[in-house]
């Protein structure tokens, strides 16, 4: 499933073709900009790009990786 990554302002930052790719992209963003960890999120989108699930905060992606 495709994921869109957006800023808290609601603007597109990236498209990713899987949840794993989205989580990796979120972690890279936090590595570059730790202060933005709660200001960037990914959510799944349909094939037309319409959001279809809850957002995953970048900070949560980092916690998920740390716990694994």
């Amino acid at each position: 499933m495709t994921y869109g990554i957006f800023s808290s302002a609601g603007n597109l930052i990236a498209w990713c073709d899987s949840e794993d790719a989205a989580l990796q992209a979120l972690r890279e963003l936090v590595d570059e900009e730790p202060e933005a960890a709660d200001e960037i999120a990914a959510f799944p989108v349909t094939e037309t790009g319409r959001p279809c699930g809850e957002a995953i905060l970048a900070s949560a992606a980092v916690r998920h990786a740390t716990a694994a």
Binding site: A9, N11, E33, G49, R50, P51
Partner: protein
Amino acid sequence: MPPLSISLPPDVPAELVVEPVLEPRVVFRVTFATSRHDREALLRSLTSNYELQQRPRKIEKIFSVLHFAISTWTSEDAARANAHAWPKNGDHIARLDLLPGLGVCVDRPSKGSEHRSLWAAPDQVLRCVADVRSA
């Protein structure tokens, strides 16, 4: 020294088509404004990541024009889905009746996509706000 060449990252298209608005068209934007008269909140939500002084990230590093764009949706339902997916983006939906002659441009993404990047001065987009509804 910057690299002499780079490869496109996965999921990044090789080109981006930007079209001026030549005929009236409608898009929707998630906002925290509660009415079309809520000028301050509307202006705040019609700003790009660049205007918010955020650094370029991911696709914005490949297509710098996207750093200057705002995300909009071609249907109210898609905008509402955005607001429900991440309430931090906003809790209302602004309908933007885009008019020719204001310098507004939108991208032409893959066929069927409901997402549109939009370029314009925020005060010009403000003139296009026709309605604001709760998400």
